[in-house]
């Protein structure tokens, strides 16, 4: 089946004054939670252990009953829907992944389609399609059992299984929690790339603020007692934490964390005077007066940076290729700002040349410009999926 034709569009999700009291507990686990999530966005519920994240998430598919208030999915109360029918239309990924060890990978992925009574060949086609979508080889994986997969592969199968009937909404409870940091980073990026394509409405639970900032279009910070402390996009959370609790929770390095949300192209670069070997010195000097940086960059015929020109290079009639220092570190427009800053610091350099995907010089990134960007709250910040979607183009450009 072509999934474009029967793809269900994402639906908006809204919590309205949702409260959950477990019998016997004095404090509510979730207390009057209200938030709106537009269709196709990732909302991360984040907060310390026991603050009610899992409880809030599980009320969406009625795994936990709502004590008071309501949750609307696509404008319809979840309370008015049959729990089993509701759950089949909501993707569900839990921390332990919960793959059934006695079923093959194909059968695991086919769980919900089988419950819905899909025909065999439709299921088989869909399973292969999903395995490819999450980057696994269908021929190799289909007939294996979960025990024969690595943790990361199982995680991908878990996501494929949740996506099987293309549900408009997905619930993910610490989906990358049990995975080592290196693979977690990879899976996060892969997932964001997938989301850039699929645009599901996703409720994502984590207790890790860095993961929240990375994955969320919006972040709901909760505190113990099930109260919402702040609901905002990542950049706003970092620049304007609403309460001391949020400020403390996002951490003292929130200015640095903000750098992870921006790319080099998002901030004002310094202009750089370029010169070519053999051209008249006068022309080069003229260009230098207009530039932000008082050192010219020697470039080749295609504006590719060769190195910073030394004073002596400009003493003759024509520019001589005498360098004071190499063109390092070279920063790309699509680099994450945090990584670019790290490069500058590693080379003990105050600035570095910036090139576009073709390697042509477009300006210079300086530590000064970065600190200016950190200070200004208004500078552009991209959505989680867009930020990673750019990575694909970047790596394609390098090949």
């Amino acid at each position: 089946m072509g999934d474009a034709s029967d793809r269900s569009s994402a639906e908006p999700l809204e919590f309205r004054e949702v409260t959950k009291r477990y019998p016997g507990n004095a404090e509510p686990a979730v207390d009057g939670l209200s938030l709106k999530l537009p269709a196709g966005e990732i909302c991360v519920l984040v907060g310390p252990s026991g603050c009610g994240k899992t409880t809030a998430m599980r009320m969406v598919n009625r795994m936990i009953d709502i004590t008071s208030g309501d949750i609307l999915l696509g404008g319809r109360s979840v309370k008015q829907r049959q729990p089993d029918e509701l759950r089949r239309n909501i993707g569900y990924v839990i921390q332990q992944i919960g793959l059934f060890p006695h079923r093959t990978i194909a059968d695991n992925i086919a769980t919900v389609p089988a419950l819905l009574g899909w025909k065999k060949d439709r299921i088989a086609t869909r399973v292969d399609e999903l395995l490819e979508l999450v980057g696994l080889d269908p021929h190799e994986m289909r007939d294996r059992f979960p025990a024969q997969l690595s943790g990361g592969q199982r995680q991908r199968v878990g996501v494929a299984r949740a996506l099987a009937v293309d549900p408009p909404v997905m619930l993910m409870d610490e989906p990358f929690g049990a995975i080592d940091p290196i693979n977690r980073e990879r899976l996060q990026n892969e997932f964001l790339r997938l989301q850039a394509e699929l645009r599901k409405t996703i409720v994502f639970v984590t207790h890790d603020i860095d993961e929240a900032i990375k994955m969320g279009d919006r972040i709901a910070v909760m505190q113990v007692g099930g109260r919402l402390a702040q609901y905002a996009p990542p950049a706003e959370l970092l620049t304007a934490p609403a309460t001391p609790f949020v400020e403390d929770f996002v951490g003292a390095d929130r200015a640095l964390k903000r750098l992870a949300l921006q790319r080099v192209r998002d901030i004002d670069l310094w202009s750089v005077a370029t010169c070519r070997a053999g051209e008249p010195t006068a022309a080069a000097r003229a260009r230098l007066t207009d530039a932000d940086l008082d050192i010219p960059m020697l470039v080749d015929g295609e504006r590719r940076p060769l190195g910073w020109l030394s004073e002596r290079g400009l003493t003759g009639e024509r520019v001589r290729p005498e360098l004071r220092s190499p063109a390092e570190p070279i920063v790309e427009l699509d680099d994450i700002l945090r990584d670019a800053l790290s490069d500058l610091l590693a080379r003990e350099s105050m600035y570095g040349p910036v090139v576009d995907a073709g390697g042509h010089l477009v300006g210079a990134l300086s530590i000064q410009a970065i600190s200016h960007a950190i200070g200004s709250a208004g500078s552009e910040v991209r959505s989680a999926a867009e930020r990673v979607a750019g990575d694909a183009g970047e790596s394609a450009g390098q090949e």
């Binding site: 089949r88 769980t111 919900v112």
Partner: protein, 239 residues
């Protein structure tokens, strides 16, 4: 207990007394065994029948009780108590006690044997189901399986190794206990063993006893084979 009717039924020693000095000396007589092996065929088949039928019936009942108790947790205590108490009834008493109700023959034997399987299989069903990781059940529910679908598509398959382990122990136990079914008039290898235990003819004890052991081992292999067939995933490991 009077020995006379039993000797009349299967008195090997008296019949064959004149044939060899080995038999007369009550030795271990290969010669006698090879000549008389066919005498064991009917009792052996009777024994197999008793074991297979009673274990099958017992298994179905115990699994049904186990599934019921898994749903209605309060039943676990009483059912464990009752099946456990029945298991402690001495087998000789059990087969005599059932006769007033069921007469003599296969009926009391099969009922008695099936009762003995309950405690083992029931307990293994309960522990097997309790041992299913709760995130499996959670994932199943979260994907929209109904309680019955959860039970039969997830919980029972995952509890199967434990349940079949119970079946193996129950089968082995029943093969042994079925020897006493002769007391209920159901025949089987017990007929031979009980006769010989009265007369103490060693060759007979060795053959009948050996067949019982062999049957226990064979049944164990059959159930093991079924288990391997039904749970291929347990042998799957990361290459």
């Amino acid at each position: 207990m009077s020995g006379a009717p039993l000797i009349a039924q299967g008195g090997f020693v008296r019949d064959r007394a004149g044939e060899s000095s080995c038999v007369a000396d009550n030795g271990f007589c290969l010669d006698w065994i090879s000549k008389n092996l066919d005498r064991y065929q009917t009792p052996f088949l009777e024994h197999v029948y008793l074991v297979v039928v009673s274990v099958a019936i017992g298994f179905v009942i115990a699994v049904a009780l186990g599934l019921l108790a898994h749903r209605r947790r309060w039943l676990i205590g009483p059912l464990t108590g009752v099946t456990g108490a029945l298991y402690t009834v001495p087998s000789i008493a059990m087969f005599f006690l059932l006769q007033p109700l069921l007469g003599r023959g296969n009926a009391p034997a099969i009922v008695g044997l099936a009762i003995y399987t309950q405690v083992i299989i029931f307990r293994n069903v309960i522990t097997g189901l309790a041992g299913v990781p709760k995130e499996m059940v959670d994932a199943a529910a979260g994907m929209g399986m109904t309680p019955n679908q959860r039970l039969f598509k997830v919980e029972v398959p995952l509890a199967l190794p434990e349940i079949l382990a119970g079946l193996r122990i129950a089968s082995a136990t029943t093969v042994g206990l079925a020897a006493f079914a002769a007391l209920a008039g159901a025949g089987g290898l017990g007929q031979q063993l009980i006769v010989s235990s009265l007369i103490v003819f060693k060759s007979n004890v060795v053959v009948a006893g050996g067949l019982v052991t062999l049957l226990a081992a064979a049944l164990d292999l059959v159930v093991l084979g079924i288990q391997r067939l039904l749970t291929p995933w347990r042998r799957a490991v990361l290459a």
